[in-house]
Symmetry: C2
Subunit: 300 residues, 2 copies
């Protein structure tokens, strides 16, 4: 039995996956703040999904920069600057987990849960924007673990200033934090509120929505024109707006292709897919990665 | 003995490479127009570099879209709409060549000729702009052979109109044809003339040069933030301007990183390298690909 855990900013979701690749147990709990609380939550979740089953390989998807050895850095929204998560968890449960960046783990999960594709990018539209790229079921980390970090590609030199110092980063126009900052009104769900107000005709909301759509379309185009993945799967909080986001993004991609036989031949709009509804892609991906330092083919 | 041939818009360069990976013969001839003339040139070049040596595997790097089976499409500057090049050459010389896109072949050659890197992008700055990506010595084609086609990423919605219909494509600001069109004065070497006139203080030339530098920097950033290749090797005609292009591109990359610990950690400017001086990377890459449908590791 493999265990996969997706540590999110607010909740930690764990699954136990049997040898047939079926999810046989799940656990959902609030994510604590700081390394110790996060490790506590991971260990409790492992015990919760395993019950009396013998411990098996464990995989963990974590925000931030994750080294191949399992050291997590800059998981700022968890209050973690740096922690050797693999070591800390191993000391507690006696099993050394495979730790992967959460978006990359979700990409592996999405690749396993979707109809067979050789290559896929999982584009996470959350507080920030980043993608995980999978080829042949293997996560692609790149030379320095930065593969898929497209949030800081600038697509408009006259765009809004990004906390990174550039202007017009994809994350600044399409990330939840960027939209919230530009919207400027406190809201539990700023992007949804912006879309609602745009529907109601609010000019600022309309321009923020248009920028978000352009940013997501640019992210899809960047992923396909660079990595040429078969599918770009949209996930993350913003993607839960469903067709309210997908439809205008497809329209923008078709508009970009309308003048170019080359772009048209790439069928960008048709290569966009939503994350499988209700599937815990992050936790399943982490389970698939468990026991393998370099990732495993989809399906156990 | 392997033969590698790089079919360029003006010249066809062929090399014979021995089992030790050394170039033992080269042939350089003008490229003809149209499929028949191109095939004639390829076959003549094979005989020229082989001399009395027994025929071995042959690899050909061609502009345009190249199918895994060796069909070449849209090689417009060669006057070729579509041709089964592998078949046409096999019928003439009795050896079925491996045919690859010329930029991708050059990427394989650059990877073989540079100090060992697991991943590399060869960014061709010529009439157009495109990159070839190599991992572990293997060219990465992507789902539809479009991997590395970053020329049509838009980096400025207010930028110049690209023939593809978008505005501000990297190719429109950093490709030789785009620069020539915006310069508007007939010149055998428009980009060099623009750089000379910029040095002399011409305002239009200065703005075109600034746009070109921004476009190249954006291409490097897109390749690293998406594929995270270890090295980005600059080649093609524009790159022959050397430090006149490299220095300002490095400055632009450092400026982008100055506000961002994440971008700074990627050392974008330090990951930029010129194509090995005087090395026929395209022909050598084609030779390395010869005899293998999926590419071979660098070094024979």
């Amino acid at each position: 039995m493999r265990v996969g855990i997706d540590v999110g900013g607010t909740k930690t979701l764990a699954v136990a996956v049997d040898d047939g690749g079926r999810v046989v147990a799940t656990d959902r709990r609030a994510t604590g703040r700081g390394a110790e609380a996060v490790v506590d939550g991971i260990c409790a979740a492992v015990h919760a999904v395993l019950g009396d089953a013998p411990p098996g390989p464990v995989g963990v998807g974590m925000p931030g920069q994750v080294s191949p050895g399992g050291v997590v850095r800059h998981a700022l929204n968890l209050g973690i600057g740096s922690v050797d998560l693999a070591e800390a968890v191993a000391a507690r449960i006696g099993v050394r987990p495979v730790v992967e960046n959460d978006v990359r783990a979700a990409a592996v999960g999405a690749a396993a849960l979707l109809p067979a594709t050789d290559s896929l990018a999982y584009l996470n539209l959350g507080t920030g924007v980043a993608a995980g790229i999978v080829r042949g079921g293997m996560p692609w980390r790149g030379a320095r673990g930065a593969a898929g970090e497209i949030g800081h590609l600038s697509v408009d030199p006259a765009g809004p200033v990004c906390p990174c110092g550039q202007r017009g980063c994809i994350e600044a126009v399409a990330g939840g934090a960027g939209v919230a900052a530009r919207w400027g009104k406190p809201s539990p769900l700023p992007v949804a509120e912006v879309f609602d107000c745009a529907d109601a005709g609010d000019p600022l909301a309309r321009s923020l929505r248009a920028d978000l759509v352009r940013g997501v379309a640019a992210a899809v185009q960047a992923l396909v024109l660079t990595a040429d993945v078969e599918l770009v799967v949209l996930g993350g909080g913003v993607s839960r707006l469903g067709e309210r986001v997908f439809a205008p993004v497809r329209t923008a991609l078709r508009a970009a292709a309308s003048g170019s036989a080359f772009l048209a031949s790439l069928d960008l709009a048709e290569r966009l897919a939503p994350v499988p509804a209700g599937e815990p892609v992050g936790a399943v991906g982490a389970a698939l990665l468990a026991g393998s330092p370099v990732g495993v083919a989809p399906g156990l």
